[in-house]
């Protein structure tokens, strides 16, 4: 008996002793991945209008996931694999390397061949040829950025998306010019969709990116319009006496939530666009506004001051129950959800008495304040959930700021003339 026990003990000991070593790592360095985007070679006569590699570099860096190696710190500028010496890139602490060459392929078409390398593994991660119009090189750059971003992070890139926003310019006493604009995600290449001497606000993209709903005072009364982006054709969908505001699309694109005060108090309604049936959602003597459809279509988030201060509530279409969502701070409004429905971005005012952009994790209720100025508002989340764009102030001017959803990186968008406000990030296009 004793011998058996001893034997068993020795056996287990010996297996344990000869077992492989298993090491655990639970902590690491919390920093951006270093990447080098080498200027792309251009084999052509006339110089190109855009530095495509630079646009790619800015795109990746603004996500907060990457830190780009400055060009003056590059030891070489390879444009083909044979010129790549991984040791050099390793020395400049680069994890990833992107090189590429561009050439004209007739007409105004250009072709870009690029390669993405894992410097540490000394291997190609991805290589691809893409072509595009020479006059729209930014499209090409955004497309390449999308590919690189997805290869590196597994997250779909949102660089080929658009922003809608409103600008306001003062043209003397009591005269203003409002514009509804659309630009690339980085604020470049803006174009005007609507111009008016009366306020324009609350642009909202349909989930397929084909239509834009917004509020315009052009008739001297607020009314909700829907504009088809492909044709520019637009229609007035709603104009009741009193308030007509805060349009929000349903995920199926067939319904529009909005705020009306036709029954005496600002309340949230849902309009079926095909049947024109209007249904009242909220019924409360307080302010109910800023509806936002959950991506699963099953609930509607909105702002209400029914509890004494503006807070975000959730309306369930099935149970018709209303449930309070935010509890921290004395002002939480303009809630916007990420596509996965997990995070709620909002305007938050807490003990600091400043209006800041915050994100609440709906799984555990945790609230993180992401921005650091006094008057931040109108958060809008990138379709891939990585960046929040918002309106903020620089001096006394309204500008657009952006912050990565983990709060690690912030930057301001290039500013056109006038006040910029009410950004709305498009869904994935195409």
């Amino acid at each position: 008996m004793v011998r058996a026990i001893v034997c068993a003990f020795v056996l287990t000991m010996s297996t344990w002793v000869s077992a492989q070593l298993v090491v655990e790592v639970t902590q690491g360095v919390d920093s951006q991945s270093p990447i080098a985007i080498v200027p792309f070679e251009w084999r052509g006569d006339q110089a190109l209008d855009e530095d495509v590699a630079r646009v790619v570099e800015q795109n990746l860096e603004r996500t907060g996931f990457f830190k780009a190696l400055a060009r003056e710190n590059m030891l070489s500028f390879p444009t083909a694999q044979s010129q790549v010496f991984f040791r050099d890139w390793r020395m400049s602490s680069t994890d990833y390397l992107v090189i590429g060459r561009m050439e004209s392929v007739g007409g105004d078409q250009v072709r870009l061949t690029f390669e993405l390398y894992d410097v540490l593994k000394e291997q190609t991660i991805h290589s691809q040829q893409v072509s595009g119009s020479r006059t729209n090189l930014r499209d090409l750059a955004h497309y390449v950025s999308d590919i690189l971003f997805e290869q590196l992070t597994g997250i779909k890139g949102a660089f080929s998306t658009r922003l809608a926003y409103v600008t306001a310019e003062s043209l003397g006493p009591d005269r203003q010019r409002f514009r509804l604009q659309m630009s690339d995600w980085d604020g470049m290449r803006p174009r005007t969709l609507l111009e008016s001497s009366e306020p324009i606000l609350s642009p909202a993209w349909s989930f397929d990116g084909s239509r834009l709903a917004y509020v315009s005072f052009e008739t001297s009364r607020p009314a909700i319009y829907v504009q088809h982006l492909a044709t520019g054709q637009r229609e007035q969908v709603q104009s009741f006496p009193g308030l007509n505001g805060a349009p929000a699309w349903s995920p199926d694109g067939n319904q529009l939530a909005m705020v009306l005060s036709k029954d005496g108090n600002p309340e949230v309604y849902v309009l079926n666009l095909s049947s024109r049936h209007l249904e009242r959602i909220t019924n409360n003597s307080a302010i109910d506004t800023e509806p936002f459809w959950a991506p699963d279509g099953r609930s509607l988030y909105f702002t209400s001051d029914r509890g004494g201060s503006p807070q975000i509530y959730k309306y369930n279409f099935n149970t018709r129950a209303v449930e309070r969502v935010t509890f921290e701070g004395n002002y939480n409004a303009a809630g916007r959800l990420t596509q996965d429905g997990r995070f709620l971005a909002m305007v938050h005012r807490g003990s600091s008495r400043r209006f800041q952009i915050a994100v609440q994790d709906l799984q555990n209720g945790r609230l993180d304040i992401l921005t650091n100025s006094d008057y931040d508002e109108s958060p809008s989340i990138a379709p891939n959930g990585t960046i929040i764009i918002y309106a903020t102030q620089q001096g006394s001017r309204g500008v657009l700021g952006a912050v990565s959803i983990d709060g690690r990186v912030r930057f301001n968008m290039p500013v056109p003339q006038g006040d910029v406000r009410e950004p709305a990030w498009s869904p994935f296009l195409r």
């Binding site: 606000l201 006496p241 600002p266 409004a333």
Partner: protein, 173 residues
């Protein structure tokens, strides 16, 4: 618990009474100061309270206050505007063809759509006062501009307090 609340309430009431005493004085000076901003408002204030005449003529209304201010995130008409609003209501009740447009505004803090709703509520608060005092609902149109049309620009309470307002405009006499 009860007694504590009671003592607290009493103390609060005392403080409120005291503050109100001080406040009423300061509002008067305030509105006077505002009057110098909004041409002739101070004079209008004087004539509005002073004249107990029936007020059926345009002349009685012409000099009344037309801008009414609000506290932050509030849509309750301050008492200092009551008498002028009553006078406007009297005029409207005696002149059924007259109509007004109430434009509600908010300061630029907070979200735009919430402020739009807030402006609407302020306009509605003024509308209710007018109706209570004899005006007909058909004579009144409300509109909210939210924070889109500030009266004074600037990020300070001085500007904000003047932007939280309802402007009463006669569409027809």
């Amino acid at each position: 618990m009860r007694s504590t609340n009671l003592s607290k309430a009493l103390a609060l009431a005392a403080v409120m009474a005291f503050a109100a005493g001080c406040g009423s004085k300061s509002t008067k000076t305030d509105s006077g100061a505002m009057g110098s901003d909004a041409a002739g408002g101070a004079a209008a204030y004087g004539s509005g309270t002073g004249s107990d005449v029936s007020g059926g003529s345009w002349a009685d209304v012409a000099n009344l206050r037309t801008v009414f201010y609000f506290d932050f995130d509030r849509s309750v008409v301050r008492q200092d505007g009551f008498s002028d609003l009553e006078a406007h209501a009297r005029y409207l009740s005696r002149n059924p063809s007259a109509s007004v447009r109430l434009e509600g505004h908010a300061d630029e803090r907070g979200t735009r759509e919430y402020n739009m709703a807030l402006g609407e509520r302020r306009a509605q608060a003024v509308e209710r006062l007018l109706i209570v005092n004899g005006a007909n609902a058909r004579q009144i149109e409300t509109i909210s501009y939210g924070e889109e049309r500030p009266a004074v620009s600037g990020n300070h309470e001085g500007a904000w307090s003047q932007n939280r307002r309802v402007e009463l405009k006669y569409v027809s006499r």
